[in-house]
Amino acid sequence: MGLLKFCLKRIISIIPVLIGVTLLTFLISRVVVPNPARAWAGLKASQATVQAIAIRYHLHDPLYLQYYYYLRDLLSGDWGTSPVNSQPVLDNLTAFFPATLELAIVAIIIAAALGIPLGVYAAVHQDKGIDHAARLFSLGTYCAPPFLMALLMQLIFSYWFRILPSGGRFSPLYPLPHKITGLLILDSILSGNLQALGIALIHISLPALSLALLTFGLITRLTRSSMLEVLRQDYVRTARAKGLVERVVIFKHALRNGLTSIVTVMALLFAFMLSGAIVIEYIFNWPGIGRYAVQSILSLDLPAVMGTTLVFTLIIISVNLLADIAYAVLDPRIRLD
């Protein structure tokens, strides 16, 4: 079946999942919470406000009706209002999203650039010194709590050596680059603003490095095991029998097949990375949805927490979908159905 048809099928199949996800968040925010009206209004709100909230969100109606209103609100962009800053949650989320996106992209690039070659190397030299070292190192970084990585980075590079800033996305002393995409690095490049580029890069380096170190271990492990599997295959032997040099055999014939499983697990990796981003953004005061999530929890802002929960989940579902499609692009056998 063609690639297009495959994509459409996959997209349609996530609709029940999306319904389930919204149902679960609905249940958590209305049923699991002991007093939804008060939680939604904010702990300091007056009784009048609480009543108003109860009416606005139909909290006295039967559950199935509440769910209908909930879905309707979600789809029309009303994700609730934060009692802490009185702004619509969705506005907050869209404002903070680009920062997280930028951090994630830079971190993944660093992690893949380090992890994939190391994984390939470890697989090719299986059971030798480098392999053991790579495995230990990647396990170590996978097991490290995200705050350990972040705090050590901050300690060493910001406080002891003072070469990198301890937080923030940009310096308050300089003007931001002209906003095109919301991604500071990209905007700086597009508007030719080298000074802004430098500042943005300096500020993103520690958080991105912390996040990358956290996930690079997983990439190395996955690349290694997928390559080990591939290197055992007959077609690798055929490639050698044809007279191709070892480098071509590994990087063209083997890796290309290994990539398919790496791509599918990138989705798993993304989920792992998002969880780490929450802590890392908070520690480095990076203005993304991760930091927003933590701040919302610390201030008991229920609408905001539910909003971030939904957004994170939607991101993961989209990434999974993209991974499935990428898999179909990379491996022509999948398109048969």
Partner: protein, 331 residues
């Protein structure tokens, strides 16, 4: 007799495994001449596939080890002594190999055309003549189609765009042959290429290989366990048992007058349509353990003619009549 294309002398190969050292090849002598098809026949486990892989150094070398004194002479060099990089230069354009399972031996993520053009580019790169012109991609495509036509594929333009999983077993095997031949090797090693195919397709592929040999003048070392296939395609046959060659003869001679008791047993165990009343004799015992092979002649535990000397020392291949060699104390 003109100088052989490939000369295998005293090749010994071992595998290190947890259970012990597997003696896969224990002193193999074999040669393949120009323009001939040599059949290598034996039961599974006798080492015939290992030998085929050993010529090109394709056995994974950490567990496998070629012992000193092994000589694999090709175009004036001993392949056993080459570095992996030097060996890669011989593969494809000097000696090529095709395998038993075309389904797993072709790379699933590249088209047939891509994989064949790799071999063609390799050949061109190695030919490095005075005119250093690199052919255009359409010229390479033409050569890909030519290679596919050579293996009797009728619609090469369409097939070249296909992925391996979209082709039938027979087509895949033809594509593999096309890929191997595209580099224009002097010798093709074929490891059980028809075993995984239906009988009718098998016949087609064998005919194809026979025709190819006549057209292109590539020699073939044909490895199989199937005596019927050998009868169809080989000019000369070598019979292998427990890491040794035990008999070697022109194909007609071998079937008419098998000398080694093992060969006799093999032939006797074949059912024959022309002689339905004949009792089918089965060779007693089973293939010896490659970790602890029997002393002396490996076949002696199963041989009805075994004598004292058979238990102590392994007999060497001796040429009895023109072209007919056998390793047995009976002669």
């Amino acid at each position: 007799m003109s100088e052989p294309l490939l000369s295998i002398e005293n090749v010994r190969l071992e595998f290190n495994t947890e259970q012990g050292t597997v003696h896969a090849l224990r002193g193999v002598d074999l040669s393949v001449g120009k323009n001939e098809v040599v059949g290598l026949v034996g039961e599974s486990g006798c080492g015939k596939t290992v030998l085929g892989l050993a010529v090109l150094g394709l056995n994974p070398m950490p567990p496998a080890r070629l012992l000193d004194g092994s000589q694999i002479l090709f175009q004036g060099r001993n392949l056993a002594e080459l570095t992996p990089h030097e060996l890669a230069l011989v593969r494809g354009t000097g000696i090529s190999m095709i395998f038993q399972e075309p389904a797993t031996s072709l790379n699933p993520v590249f088209t047939i055309g891509d994989q064949i053009s790799e071999s063609i580019r390799l050949r061109i790169q190695r030919q490095r003549n005075e005119d250093k012109s690199t052919p255009s991609s359409s010229e390479i495509d033409e050569q890909v189609y030519e290679a596919l036509r050579l293996v009797r594929i009728a619609d090469p333009e369409r097939i070249a765009r296909r992925y391996p999983h979209e082709l039938s077993g027979g087509m895949k095997q033809r594509a593999m042959i096309a890929m191997a031949m595209a580099a224009k090797p002097s010798l093709l090693i074929a490891d059980e290429p028809t075993t995984a195919l239906d009988v009718t397709i098998q016949a087609q592929i064998l005919r194809l290989m026979r025709d190819l040999m006549n057209e292109v003048k590539t020699s073939i070392l044909f490895i199989t366990h199937d005596l019927g296939v050998i009868a169809e395609i080989a000019d000369r046959v070598a019979v292998m048992y427990a890491g040794h060659i035990v008999e070697e003869a022109p194909v007609g001679q071998l079937f008419a007058e098998p000398l080694h008791p093992y060969t006799q047993g093999l032939l006797a165990s074949l059912p024959r349509l022309s002689d339905l009343d004949r009792e089918i004799k089965q060779l007693p015992g089973s293939v010896p353990d490659a970790i602890n092979p029997p002393s002396g002649c490996s076949f002696h535990p199963r041989c009805e003619f075994a004598r004292e000397e058979c238990r102590t020392e392994s007999p060497k291949l001796k040429e009895l009549k023109a072209g007919h060699k056998v390793a047995c104390y009976l002669y």
